[in-house]
Amino acid sequence: AQTVTQSQPEMSVQEAETVTLSCTYDTSESDYYLFWYKQPPSRQMILVIRQEAYKQQNATENRFSVNFQKAAKSFSLKISDSQLGDAAMYFCAYRSIMNRDDKIIFGKGTRLHILP
């Protein structure tokens, strides 16, 4: 069974600085999706970025980018120019392509604090 591990329960970063959130996963599959979701204090789960495993190019969405290392089964999220609105819980997630049930496996989350 696949697992997702986020080893940093909490992190802090100074406003305008760059921070990297770590995520590792375990799978025997070759094709899959990886996601980062953001959950601000409002509790709404928001998709930040997605990565398709068969694509070698790292995904980027504005100030958010990933470092996808398939062989190492690592999927870190880099937030550049951190803003106060980035303060949230961040969840790394894995989705198998082979399973037809669309289930997503979530890590336990990393709480990110932005220091003004």
Partner: protein, 114 residues
């Protein structure tokens, strides 16, 4: 934003009472999911549905049942609520036709069992 609503948004109930949470979508997506979120556990899947009247268990299904009689509605029932079911419950939807396979989440329901 995906059209997903959850009702109620907040509920306080007593141990032993039945509780039903509703998830409603306007996206006509095939798959629907119920998660619970607890500190230190992230999101854990309770039940999911892959079509009308087609449901299956997730990793924490004990004490919960679900029903889906229409594409747009997915109900989660706690037959006899316990304090351990105090949590925030999220509904999610997805559509597997074509990539990119992400799930869209509702706003959540905070349930407190006293």
């Amino acid at each position: 934003d995906a059209g997903i609503t959850q009702s109620p948004r907040h509920k306080v109930t007593e141990t032993g009472t039945p509780v039903t949470l509703r998830c409603h979508q306007t996206e006509n997506h095939r798959y629907m999911y119920w998660y619970r979120q607890d500190p230190g556990h992230g999101l854990r899947l309770i039940h999911y549905s892959y079509g009308v009247k087609d449901t299956d268990k997730g990793e924490v299904s004990d004490g919960y049942s679900v029903s889906r009689s229409k594409t747009e509605d997915f109900l989660l029932t706690l037959e006899s609520a316990t304090s351990s079911q105090t949590s925030v419950y999220f509904c999610a939807i997805s559509e597997s036709r074509g990539r990119p396979y992400e799930q869209y989440f509702g706003p959540g329901t905070r349930l407190t069992v006293t």
